[in-house]
């Protein structure tokens, strides 16, 4: 329990420090305290001055960040500058879309990677291993944005593009783990004794490899979320990836900072969740 609290505190600290750094960068970004409304010729000098005053509280980074934090605690993440809507509303609307897309992509990517790695290792043929490695190597070399464009062109489901970004990374790790596991003396003996390959896989390989694979699960969430940016942007899917891209093009910095903080929290939670699950798995196995 104490460990969990420490982890949660560390996560909160990373998010707060990361937020402060982002706020500093946002504050220093060129044109931050300039409001396009100030250029509106219909406004009189009093209105322009009122707009300047409204922005003046944001000039001090610490005050700006504390103001942001107190509002964030109340669930108010501010207003998007380009979309003119509350950030909270935008996140609530778009997060489920990305969760579904990234979730399906992760599932498909993991399934392909693990099945291919198990197949290539169990086949015990150099040709199978080379073919599988070549396939994963090709996908490792293709940018996520290109995959998204090709999937749009082929009219194929967008989550498959995310799956193909996740697949090569999970495959190479799984394949290496399996190869190492199959080379261990007790498995060589098991093979020599004529125990069936499926039995060896289920009883001797997967319990050992499974715990180590859980460590990659957290990292693959980060990979999938990163890939969601070009996939959603280019496939026209209204998720947080597309929102981040729109925010970047429109220099909607408050929205971008909130999005980055949200994605950081999800990534950290996924990493620590997989680590925790790995520990539980090891305890149960022991």
């Amino acid at each position: 329990m104490g460990k969990l609290i420490r982890r949660a505190a560390a996560m909160a600290a990373i998010v707060v420090v990361g937020g402060l750094l982002s706020a500093t960068l946002v504050r220093l970004a060129p044109g931050f305290d300039v409001d396009e409304q100030q250029l509106d010729w219909r406004l009189n000098s009093d209105s322009v001055e009122a707009l300047r005053q409204a922005h003046s509280q944001d000039r001090n980074v610490t005050a700006f960040y504390l103001h942001y934090l107190t509002r964030a605690v109340r669930g108010d993440f501010g207003q998007s500058r380009t979309l003119h809507r509350p950030v909270r509303e935008l996140l609530a609307q778009r997060l489920p879309v990305t969760t579904r897309l990234a979730g399906l992509g992760l599932l498909a990517g993991w399934l392909c990677a693990v099945l291919l790695a198990v197949g290539a290792t169990m086949a015990r043929r150099a040709a199978c291993d080379v073919a599988a490695t070549l396939l994963s190597g090709i996908f490792l070399s293709v940018p996520a944005a290109v995959l998204a464009l090709l999937f749009t062109f082929a009219d194929a489901p967008a989550y498959l593009a995310i799956a193909l970004v996740v697949f090569p990374k999970v495959f190479s790790y799984t394949r290496n783990l399996l190869a190492k596991s199959y080379a261990s003396p007790h498995l060589v003996t098991a093979y020599a004794k004529g125990i069936s390959p499926v039995r060896i896989l289920i009883w001797h390989v997967l319990p050992v490899v499974g715990t180590q694979l859980l460590a990659v699960a957290g990292i693959s969430v980060s990979i999938a979320l990163g890939a969601a940016v070009p996939v959603e942007a280019l496939c026209g899917i209204a998720g947080i990836g597309q929102l981040a891209w729109q925010a970047a093009l429109g220099r909607d910095l408050p929205l971008l900072v909130n999005l980055t903080a949200l994605v950081t929290v999800i990534t950290l939670a996924a990493n620590w969740g997989s680590e925790f699950a790995g520990q539980r798995f090891r305890t149960v196995a022991a």
């Binding site: 070399s141 944005a145 290109v146 464009l149 062109f153 990163g226 220099r251 990534t267």
Partner: protein
Amino acid sequence: MKRTRQIGWLLLSLITLAALGAGVWAPADYATQFREMPNSPPSHQHLLGTDELGRDRFSRVLYGTRVSLLMAPAAALLSTLLATLVGGIAGYLDGWWERAAMGVADLFLSMPWLFLLLAVRAMLPLNVAPITSVAVTFLLLGLLGWAASARVLCAGARDLRNSDFVLQARASGVRGLRLLAIHVVPNLKPVLLAQFWISIPVFIISEANLGILGLGVAEPLPSWGSLLRELESFTSFGFEAWKLVPLVLLVLVVSSFQIVLSADEGYA
């Protein structure tokens, strides 16, 4: 394995040579427009046809390859230097320094790479001169990509700090910067080189992603990212296969890097 490695090196050398000699081989400048023939198919005059603005695609591919292939190693050099500075010194100094430096590295690693790039890129002006956009894009990659390498270098420096020969050097009165420069950093060279080579394909792919999203190198200067944006108007594999040339080149280069790196791992 040796043969595959040789093929990898050969491909990399040929593509780099072709890109470096872009000024010699390219039939036109990357920005020259042939206004009477936009979107033309391959011909004797234009080996890969022209783009929608009537610019010679072959020339743009050569110049774009030069930008990506020269700037990615430059960004990798910058990130490796930063990683050495942060990770190497943190590992060597130990204690509070190490915890603080690795805390910052964790902070960088906790954000998905593309999100981080997008967020920081948006904080800088977007409408800049083409040459400035090249500098900004690759500087950003170099400045943000140090964290993973710093972790590896920190572990390497920590091991060296506790090694017998460093203890011996300390006992002989060698301290501070001299110990770091003469005994620690030279022994980190293999790790440094590995991190440098690993970073190059990562940065090439990142630039391509940023370019396709319109946040990379600005027009009319070509790079693999900006050239791949053409795929947005791609309609057929059969009739417009030449539009895939930048993608094929990118895959070849990144795959060659992987082959060379994995072969190096195998030898180690």
